[in-house]
Amino acid sequence: MTRRSTRAGVASLGTATLLVASLGGGTFAQGSPEPAPAAAAVMSYPNYGGEVDCEARTFNGTEYRGSIKSIEATDASTVVFTLCAPDPAFLAKVAFSAFQIDDTDYLLTAGADRSIVEKPNGTGPYQLGDWVRGDQVILNAYAGYHGDAALSPTAIFRWSSQPGQKFIELQSGNVDGIDNVQPDDVEAIEGDPNLQLIPREGLNVFYIGFNDTAAPFDNEKIRQAIAQGIDRQAIVDQFYPAGSEVASHFVPCSIAFGCEGESWYDFDLAAAQALLAEGMAEAGVDSISTTISLRVVDRGYLPLPEQVATAIQAQLQDNLGITATLDVQESGTFIDNADLGLLKGLHLLGWGADYPDPTNFLDYHFGEGASAQFGNGFPDIHAALRAGASTAVDAERQAAYTDVNNLLKQHVPMIPVAHGGSATAWAAGLQGNPHSSPLSNEVLSVIGPGTDDQLVFMQSGEPAGLYCADESDGEALRICEQIKESLYAFEVGGVAAIPALATECAANDDLTVWTCTLKDGVTFHNGATLDAGDVVLSYAVQWDAAHPLHLGRDGSFTYFAGLFGGFLNAPPAAE
């Protein structure tokens, strides 16, 4: 299908369109049925205000803390990413669903009016049929898909925050698969010949977060005291299924370099109480009353949120004399409040791996581009993370992540509690490949229906939006992954990054320049053909905080900032 001119597409966006319009000012001639071949760079970003200065860490006179130097479409099917430093996790990052590629024309219109949040347009095996708010998301197989066609003509996502309901729906045959089987239901599912349980590796972490801008948790000793005063083993023993373990580090040990450095504090009540007394004296408080914020949505890293919260509440009271009240929040609100740094007490949250590299866990949470979840952040951790993410030499990465983990233990922005094993459960008669993904991104297109022509999967919550560049919740990401694609993808049920929209992304010797060649003949659900300009714009709208399309659902784009270090034109950090 002929693409419309990018220039024409942005005409209605006003003065802010300069950034976008210039993208289309290259060789992609208006009215041309196909993008014209180009020998030189025809689109690049940033395309105004000079270049990123990696040494000075500036762009256009402002501070720039990111790791990307430029993104160029050198011809219609080639995109070159130039980085400020080597990035060994680059392929895994671009495989992630936050970096899915949108059609330029669609992004210019639907991104501007934010309708893209509810109506995604991708290249994936399924296209959005209908999103009935509060009820279900219906996906229809996309006939023009460039890969293997979906086995089920229709895939439906439903949700319930109640594990019991999910189990009953599966048992009764109303749904074909469920996510996050409750530990107490495992035995029943294993004993039911009509069901199959597929365990999922615990590539995740459940943690108790602090915000170090709010008293009394701005006092490091108080945070350290709580870290030593919580019996994490008791929590894992009571509430987690087999395959789970107490977290010795924030990153699971099966991820390379995840467990370098010192292990987390052991449970030591006497030391905790002494340290707490010291910290409280420093902070000038006689007692501590706080809240434990949480959302009641089961996850692999936190299968029983309320019960775990109640247990932590009891431990705080009994072990440390800290009075805490539970503050249950709606899931989307809770995530937004965490990202905005509005949770001033303790909060219970976790993280499931998006790709198997420490950067995914550590940079997102504690890097320079991280959200305000834990407060202002720690410059020494930033520096160590930068060192770890910008080298491909094992010894250097090992040393960097040793520093990171030791500094996390010292500063205690959070307490890593558990790496939780979990499982999906499926009806026994399904065709294809019912599976669990360690990244929680089950691919429904490889699973065929049972007796009817639709596959129904029940997860734990409704997505807040389906423009996943600006989502961080697994419920949204899993649905996005059926509809849209990134340059790379993760193998079904595994963690290896494999080509998707790109046939290959080849690196130079020092891993600072990545040249991605796009697949031919890939079309979006709206009929547009994929080209390199789509890739540049899809990244640019996330990368540049001043971009007129840097809107998203709430505009936080936390993944981009977390994984690529920061935005161009990032607003000044709050004091």
């Binding site: 109640q162 019991g164 009571q238 509430f239 309320e306 109640t310 509440q313 009891a314 539970l326 249950v328």
Partner: protein, 314 residues
């Protein structure tokens, strides 16, 4: 009605009359105790009240204590009573433990305390405010009556539980907030009943006679009308306790009432209802206790109605 009139008049009079007053109330009590449903209701309420009052003594464990130490039953343990054949090497627990390893029996006992206090306090608050509004509206009539009753009508237009959820959400989570929310949504019912009762009394001859003898409006309302209009309120109020207990439990079930870790039956059901298929007892025990208490108040309320309503005299 004549008997009631005599009693009330006497109550404001000399000692001889006071002695006569006790007669009709003793009769009513005797009538009440002759009704099987009322007696059953009283027994249920008495047992639960006793359990609530002496929960600290009866309960084998503190309600919020996790029993997951050495020699303790642990999480979601099944009931184990040695006298009933449970192996002696297993720790005893009458009804088992919940998802946080807390003793279910102890929590159910302490939950009774919360429910009873909530029931009486909520119904009492609602009766007090509702009766006052109803009495003023019924006695004053005219514009004030119209105004007050339209406000009550608006409140009655909303489903009680939905309105309670809205109010509790506005006030914030907590038992006190949910208690206030349930009390507020109950006010119109009591106001309507009291108004109707006052309207039926205020036109009676003895009231007219008192007015002719120079009794002030306030005196008429307080001394002549109200005492004779209270009977329906006693019945509705008693039935309302059960409703209040149920609605407060519903708010707790939704997370708006009693907050963890304290024991309250609605909250206990909410925290465990996902295990209804695998560990039904943990959900059924507080559910049964809740049902029992509500049935108790309903039976007592029915009995009171049968006793106090002269049209139902047998």
């Amino acid at each position: 009605m004549a008997g009631t009139l005599t009693a009330t008049d006497g109550a404001s009079g000399d000692g001889l009359a006071t002695a006569r007053v006790a007669g009709p109330w003793r009769d009513k009590l005797r009538m009440l105790l002759r009704q099987r449903s009322a007696v059953i209701g009283l027994i249920i309420i008495s047992i639960l009240s006793f359990a609530a009052l002496f929960a600290d003594v009866i309960a084998p464990h503190p309600p919020n204590k996790a029993l997951n130490g050495p020699g303790e039953p642990g999480r979601r343990a099944q009931p184990c009573v040695h006298l009933l054949g449970c192996p002696a090497d297993q720790p005893q627990t009458l009804l088992g433990t919940d998802g946080n390893s807390r003793d279910l029996f102890s929590r159910t006992l302490h939950g009774a305390r919360v429910s009873l206090v909530v029931g009486f306090a909520t119904a009492g608050l609602a009766v007090l405010i509702g009766s006052t509004i109803g009495a003023i509206a019924g006695f004053a009539a005219g514009g004030l009556d119209n105004g007050l009753m339209r406000v009550m009508d608006v409140m009655l237009a909303f489903p009680a539980l939905v309105l309670a959820i809205a109010i509790a959400s506005t006030l914030g989570r907590g038992l006190l907030q949910s208690l206030i929310a349930v009390a507020i949504v109950s006010i119109p019912i009591y106001a309507r009943v009291m108004r109707a009762s006052v309207l039926s009394v205020r036109g009676l001859d003895y009231v007219t006679a008192s007015r002719a003898l120079g009794e002030t409006n306030r005196g008429l309302l307080v001394r002549r009308v109200l005492p004779n209009a209270l009977t329906p309120m006693i019945v509705v109020g008693t039935l309302g306790i059960g409703t209040a207990v149920l609605e407060t439990a519903a708010l707790s079930f939704l997370g708006l009432g009693m907050q963890p870790p304290d024991a309250e039956w609605g909250a206990m059901i909410a925290s465990e209802f996902n295990g209804i298929l695998t560990r039904p007892l943990i959900v059924l025990v507080p559910g049964f206790a809740l049902t029992l208490l509500v049935v108790g108040f309903n039976l007592l309320g029915d009995g009171l109605r049968d006793t106090l309503d002269p049209r139902l005299d047998r």
